[in-house]
């Protein structure tokens, strides 16, 4: 494919293409089948491009070692994107942020003394030849794979990068490295500060826009959050001549954090209005390349998460973490379909003399369709500008009725086959067209009208499939109305429309969750119907309480006289943090001998930890704290006495849970983790032995003496039928323990940590499910109210673990 561009748009093999992209993380949605599912849904929703970050850290656990096999096989992910008919925006970093552990930089890289990650210390530029050597190694691995795919249309270097001096050496070198390795498509960078940064170092200038990044903010009230977006065309034009307006990350949701307000709140706060306003305003500013970040949410399974985020990376995306289509998907679909029907790749701003408080209005002339488009938005809080109030009266004398926080694209002087639309505030959903005939689908709106140039006015208050036909010079135009509900369930596939389906696949298969009459429409055969009978699935499958098969105490490491001679030895007085120990797992065990004359130990650990002496817990603490977006280190002193130090030589065990490394946007990726500080009073050197991981398989044979970590095991079976989409979860409602780590068939799929808000539903990632499944839940922290180990175990045996279903659909060809 030959990819070129001009100031209007990207061109593929010489043809202008509007890039409607959505971000997808293959590492958070593992496996080919899940990638296929998400890509097919994206394609069905009108996206033509998928944006893919390539996560260096995910593929490289040790220096010089790279794993692109199994679920890490990115070739297969790219193959699926191609099969789904999607272009690809490749973003291999080296740094990617994405709220992943260490921003995607390998842990081993961060510990190297002569490496300065990203050639930056704080905001100061410091070139590191050794870092660049390793970046070259990564590019040598990933670029040959990317290069195999001719549907890769754009390539990004670095991510949201800036330094005080803005020295261009690093960015120029990355550009050169990509070209030397055979990247031929345009190269860009995403400027997080929309200040024209690095525009001279790349082919296309691009920026990121996230007007809503504080969930406490009411964006509907603080509507000025769109100020930058409302003027973004000027930013693009002044940043780089001849570069098409490209929003490399355009907000389509937001991530939640530990102690955040919860995804439910964020989804409700953003509603469908936000993605509607973001996307339509971008179009009004001449943007012809956008990337909804994210199009599909994912899961921080394994050790993917940075310290800031919990297991779910649902991101309130149009396709959620579980692969279920959400209402903002339908809004994105409406806009994508509209863009499939009317080519807006070559438009110019047009003067439009209109000003009204809280109303944003922008007119563009469309050089391709030789018409104008009016983009109009109402940001009045709780202000519905209705007909009784006269609506919004435009200079052309027409009125537009807009709900608060709504935005429309209205055609002006649009020439169709059978008629001309002078103006319409009934929005166009999509259009089917051949040489002589076209069907234009509108979304019904009782407060809106279509004004034809012959004076006819068609009210928008129509029922599903009500239609009007216009003929002129042997050609016909049919207007077909769909209610919003039907539009959500309507799908544009090549040359036909499919109605009443939950979603469709590129091969024409339809997915439904209940008995449904599917309707089809094309220009040749008009309407046809088909019944899809789904008898097997109840509408709302009930939660199933899983039977606990065993509860075992599973931390022999804490037991007295545990043999840890095989663990890694840290010399007395040596550093014990994760980098120094070269251990990057979420859990790190430390063992040491301490004498009985100590009066105190002082320690600082990231992030959660517990200290045990001679098999007894003396402290268990969650030290994770963020203030003003900065990690707040905590140092704790624990007094010791003869009732704790009962032996002449006492056995000390420390377990530290590292919630992840900093993502590197505003903090340092290489801030230490694990046991960062350990001192004794009186001060003596302590020789530690260290080991990583809580492994559920540790204790299948032996049970530990102590009750501090307990493993609840549950077995369950699933019907894994072909042609069925399902999303399962386990629920921890009424779960009385404070912390648990969840393993599905041996894969860590979640961490439950009780804080202000807690994630209590965990996605059973389809890739890891089997017909017969084992769920191991390792509970860390004996309930202090339960006095005896026996009582604690008995309580755990009665814990309620519920198996639920978010969605189940059957596919019909």
């Amino acid at each position: 494919m030959d990819i070129s561009f001009d100031k209007y748009s990207l061109m593929v093999d010489g043809k202008r293409v509007f890039i409607k992209s959505g971000a997808f993380h293959y590492f958070r949605t593992p496996g080919v089948k899940m990638a296929r599912d998400r890509f097919q849904k994206m394609k069905a929703g009108g996206y033509n491009t998928v944006d893919i970050y390539f996560n260096w850290n995910y593929h490289s656990a040790k220096p010089g070692e790279y794993d692109f096999t199994g679920i890490k096989d990115v070739r297969k992910v790219l193959e699926e994107a191609k099969k789904a008919g999607l272009f690809v925006i490749a973003r291999p970093g080296p740094f990617i942020n994405a709220e992943v552990n260490a921003g995607g930089l390998p842990f081993w890289l961060l510990k190297m003394e002569d490496v300065i990650p990203r050639n930056r210390v704080g905001t100061e530029y410091k070139y590191s030849p050794k870092y660049m050597e390793y970046v070259a190694e990564w590019y040598d691995q990933i670029i040959p794979i990317i290069k195999e795919f001719d549907n890769v249309i754009l390539f990004q270097i670095e991510n949201e990068y800036a330094t005080d001096s803005m020295d261009e050496g690093y960015m120029n070198e990355l550009y050169r490295m990509a070209r030397e390795r055979g990247i031929t498509c345009p190269i860009f960078h995403n400027d997080a500060y929309f200040a024209g940064l690095w525009a001279d170092c790349v082919d296309i200038y691009a920026l990121d826009l996230y007007p809503y990044i504080n969930p406490n903010q009411n964006w509907k009230q603080d509507n000025f959050c769109f100020d930058t977006l409302d003027n973004v065309e000027d930013i693009f034009r002044s940043a780089k001549e001849g570069s098409p307006p490209f929003i490399a990350e355009m907000q389509a949701g937001w991530f939640d954090k530990w102690d955040g307000s919860g995804y439910g709140h964020i989804r409700e706060a953003l509603g469908d209005e936000h993605i509607n306003i973001m996307t339509k305003t971008a179009l009004s500013q001449g943007v012809t390349l956008f990337n909804h970040y994210m199009a599909a949410g994912g899961t921080n399974w394994g050790d993917l998460a940075c310290d800031e985020v919990y297991t779910s990376y649902e991101f309130t995306a149009p396709i959620d973490e579980f692969g279920v289509i959400q209402s903002n998907f339908y809004k994105a679909k409406e806009i994508n379909y509209f863009l499939d029907s009317f080519d807006l790749t070559c438009t110019e701003p047009k003067d439009f003399d209109f000003c009204q408080e809280n109303i944003y209005a922008k007119m563009r002339h469309d050089n391709t369709n030789d018409c104008d488009w009016l983009f109009i938005r109402n940001m009045g809080i709780n202000q519905k500008i209705n007909e009784a109030e006269g609506g919004i009266t435009l200079p052309n004398g027409k009125t537009v009725v807009l709900k608060s926080c709504d935005m429309k694209i209205c055609p002006v002087n649009l020439k169709l086959y059978g008629c001309d639309i002078e103006f319409s505030d009934v929005e166009i959903f999509t259009r089917l067209k051949n040489e002589n005939e076209e069907a234009v689908f509108f979304i019904s709106d009782k407060n809106a009208n279509i004004y034809l140039s012959d004076g006819t006015v068609i009210k928008g208050d129509k029922m599903d499939f009500e239609n009007y036909t216009f003929e002129r010079d042997g050609k016909t135009t049919q207007f077909i109305f769909l209610t919003k509900h039907m539009a959500d369930r309507s799908w544009f596939l090549k040359d036909r429309m499919i109605f009443n389906a939950d979603y469709v696949l590129p091969n024409g298969a339809v997915a439904v969750e209940k008995n449904t009459e599917i309707a089809y429409f094309d220009l040749k055969y008009k309407f046809a119907k088909k019944n899809c009978i789904v008898n097997a699935y109840p509408n709302n499958p009930p939660l199933e309480q899983l039977e606990i098969s065993s509860v075992k105490f599973c931390s022999p490491e804490i037991d007295l006289d545990y043999d840890y001679s095989g663990w890694k030895k840290i010399e007395a007085g040596g550093k014990t943090d994760a980098f120094s120990c070269d251990i990057y797992d979420e859990f790190i065990w430390y063992k040491a001998k301490i004498p009985d004359y100590l009066t105190e130990i002082t320690l600082s650990a990231r992030h959660l930890f517990a200290v045990y002496v001679n098999g007894k817990e003396i402290i268990n603490r969650n030290s994770y704290k963020l203030e003003k977006l900065q990690e707040v280190p905590e140092t704790i002193s624990v007094p010791l006495n003869k009732t704790i130090l009962t032996r002449e030589t006492n056995e000390l065990t420390i377990l530290v849970q590292n919630l992840g490394f900093d993502k590197g946007f505003s903090g340092d990726t290489n801030s230490p983790r694990g046991l960062v500080l350990f001192e004794t009073t009186p001060q003596i050197p302590v020789e530690f032995y260290v080991c990583e991981k809580l492994a559920p398989e540790y204790t299948t044979k032996f049970e530990s003496d102590n009750p501090y970590l307990s493993k609840i095991t549950v077995n369950f079976d699933l019907n894994m039928s072909e042609n069925v989409f399902f999303a399962k979860y386990i629920s921890f409602e009424d779960f009385r323990c404070r912390r648990a780590t969840i393993y599905l068939n041996g894969v860590k799929i979640g961490r439950y940590i009780k804080r202000r808000h807690v994630q209590d539903k965990f996605y059973l990632i389809n890739e890891f499910l089997k017909p017969h499944n084992t769920l191991d839940i390792i509970v860390w922290e004996k309930d202090r109210n339960v006095k005896s180990a026996w009582g604690f175990k008995s309580d755990l045996k009665n814990v309620k673990i519920l198996l639920g279903t978010f969605k189940i659909c059957q596919l019909f060809k």
Binding site: T123, A162, D227, T228, K628, L629, Q630
Partner: protein, 121 residues
Amino acid sequence: MVVVPEFLIKRIYQKGSLKKLDNGASFNLKNVLGPGFISGFNYVKINDVTYEPKDVKFIMNGQEYTSGDVSEDHPIAFRLGQAGTIVVEGQQSVTEGVNKIVIEALNPEAGVVKLSVEDNV
């Protein structure tokens, strides 16, 4: 500290706006970066004199905001293109010629944002 390049943050300060007042100083800021919020000021420093949050006022659209009015729960909107005046009181700090000014402000999204500039009087 948020990684916003210094040269970008400096654009907020309006060069030539530093004024010596009877018992302090004033200068102007204009948001040319993007829409945002201010949730407080850690301090303002002019030359060797540090003004605590209680001695810092931000005047915007004729409204005066003191440290008691602004917090993480009650941030003030600082729109793109909007201008405001910082007034610091309690001590003299401005000298003739070049003055060094450091402002450490708080933003709910970005955390601590530090601005260091020089201005002539």
